[in-house]
């Protein structure tokens, strides 16, 4: 099959809608346009039935036993905001301390920063060089004022999967609410909020082949019953936690996307991991001083993050961007010129943080695409190294750290 350009390999920023998802959504724009809260006519009943079915699909995907525990939001960012701010406000009497990690998404980190300005204390637990949080470090960070532990399920840049079950167990023992930002993990790897001891879980549809503009927050109802102060006031929809007319077509799409992910997960995981490993082996086998970021084993199957020493990430992307969509750092930070804080948190030199490239695969990528991207990446990196003064110095045997750099 002929390759179609540009090739999309930036699936941790967003994914294309699965055509089956769009098909499921379409009737809800036109014939089935009712308001799910309209309790006294068939239009409303139909819409409510559709959102309930979607809610059940999403609940099933994350192992929630009760579909009512799923609260729809506008996306992952809102779900994370609601979880953190909602708990902070509701449990303020109980304590003012939050434990999180240094590699959370911006939505998590920036919400914590705001809470700090409002008088909360936040501990940002560091990660080990492989990107994993040491559960002991989380334990040590807990104080008698801790009301919330928030640790992401899988990282958006390096794909590292945290030991969520162990952190959930710890949170249970200490009687602390546990939130996980699972935006990158839901639909990709098995998740069970019950066995993993998760009290709050954020996710979004557009990363699992659903539409943009809808996400969900799982809010545990039993053992313990988690209460949240709402961020948006209004008609009291979503058990009072998130008012606003439900975007029925988006929710229907989310439900269908969740259903497809559940059905295809075992096969898709294996296929993407194989594709990813091939990409990784080809690149690391052909380029010297290229380093894998994150844990090689505990990693999302579709994620590959490599730092190419002596070349700058944006310049690599520029060499590829006519034909391939990849990312350097995350899409959230690529509008700034800061190097990746995630790679920096691994303890790598900041130069390597400037050199990271993320390949993230999706359902529709093929082996031919993988091979093409690998080949082009290798070519571009080699070309850039030929014009890199750092590569030249390193090849001459100069220790780059011995040079007194004149920073601006």
């Amino acid at each position: 099959m002929a390759l179609k350009f540009p090739i999309f390999m930036d699936a941790q920023s967003t994914t294309p809608c699965d055509p089956r998802v769009v098909e499921a959504m379409l009737p809800y724009f036109t014939e089935k346009f009712g308001h799910p809260a309209s309790r006294n006519h068939p239009f409303g009943w139909e819409a409510e039935g559709a959102t309930d079915a979607a809610r059940a699909r999403v609940a099933r995907l994350i192992g929630a036993r009760d579909a009512k525990e799923v609260v729809f939001t506008s996306g992952g960012t809102e779900a994370i905001n609601l979880a953190l701010k909602g708990v902070a406000e509701m449990y303020r009497e109980k304590g003012n301390h939050i434990v999180t990690t240094a590699i959370e998404q911006r939505a998590g980190l920036d919400t914590c920063k705001r809470l700090e300005r409002q008088g909360f204390a936040v501990t940002y637990v560091p990660v080990q060089p492989n990107g994993l949080v040491d559960v002991d470090d989380v334990k040590k960070a807990i104080t008698d004022k801790t009301i919330l532990i928030s640790v992401m399920f899988a990282n958006n840049e390096i794909g590292t999967i945290q030991d969520i079950a162990a952190i959930g167990k710890l949170a249970k023992e200490k009687g602390i609410i546990f939130h996980t930002d699972a935006t990158q993990a839901v639909g990709k790897i098995p998740i069970d909020v019950e066995t993993m001891g998760i009290d709050l879980l954020s996710c979004t549809a557009h990363l699992l082949y659903g539409p943009k503009g809808v996400g969900a927050l799982y809010v545990r109802r039993k053992g313990p019953r988690v209460r949240l102060a709402p961020m948006i006031d209004g008609g009291g929809h979503e058990r009072g936690m998130r008012s606003g007319t439900l975007p029925v077509p988006l929710i229907v799409g989310f439900g269908r996307a969740a259903e497809i992910c559940e059905e295809s997960m075992p096969e898709e995981r294996a296929r993407l991991a194989k594709l990813r490993d091939r990409l990784q082996d080809t690149i690391l086998g052909s380029v010297d001083e290229a380093f894998l970021n994150g844990d090689p084993e505990r990693r999302l199957p579709h994620n590959l993050n490599i730092s190419f020493a002596y070349v700058e990430g944006e310049s690599v992307l520029m060499g590829l961007n006519k034909e391939t969509a990849l990312s350097s750092g995350s899409a959230c930070t690529s509008a700034t010129l800061e190097p990746s804080y995630v790679i920096a948190a691994l303890g790598a030199s900041s130069e390597l943080a400037h050199s990271s490239i993320r390949f993230s695969l999706h359902r529709f990528n093929t082996e031919e695409e993988g091979d093409w991207v690998a080949r082009r990446t290798i070519e571009v990196v080699r070309r850039l190294r030929d014009m890199s003064p750092l590569y030249e110095l390193a090849k001459e045997g100069v220790d780059l750290k011995s040079i007194r750099w004149k920073a601006e």
């Binding site: 310049s315 060499g319 014009m387 750092l390 750099w405 004149k406 601006e408």
Partner: protein, 137 residues
């Protein structure tokens, strides 16, 4: 962020990539920036000792496309200029030629720094060698 056509052209067809032997009389090397800032430029000029004219220039850059373009353009402009003329190249000239957006202005500043550093290095070596310093400023 979309790049200007000129930046893309310099990125795809960089002019004068390479190196001169550092210790040759008449060669000046400027190495500016820092790896942890994501930008390092090495810019070299080869000056005719008699005339003070820059006969050749080369660069190597670690950095984004705009940094590569800024240094590539600088080498193009340096060739054929006297050292005095070269010292007058301003970062703003590079900004307007390459249509750099505000977030990329630091790339042009770095290129100007590299030119200045190469000129200074050339002069220093010149003085050390006891050559007539009349044609440098």
């Amino acid at each position: 962020m979309a790049y200007s056509e000129k930046v893309v052209d310099h990125y795809n067809n960089p002019r004068n990539v390479g190196s001169f032997p550092k210790d040759t009389l008449g060669v000046g090397t400027g190495l500016v920036g820092a790896p942890e800032c994501g930008d390092v430029m090495k810019l070299q000029i080869k000056v005719n000792v008699q005339t003070g004219v820059i006969e050749d220039a080369k660069f190597k850059t670690f950095g984004c496309g705009s940094a590569i373009a800024s240094s590539s353009l600088a080498t193009e402009w340096l060739k054929g200029k006297t050292v005095d003329e070269a010292a007058k190249i301003k970062n703003t000239d590079i900004v307007s030629e390459l249509k750099l957006p505000p977030v990329k202005i630091h790339c042009s500043v770095l290129a100007e720094d590299a030119i200045k550093a190469a000129l200074a290095d050339c002069k220093e070596k010149w003085l050390k060698a006891g050559a007539p310093a009349a044609s440098t400023t």
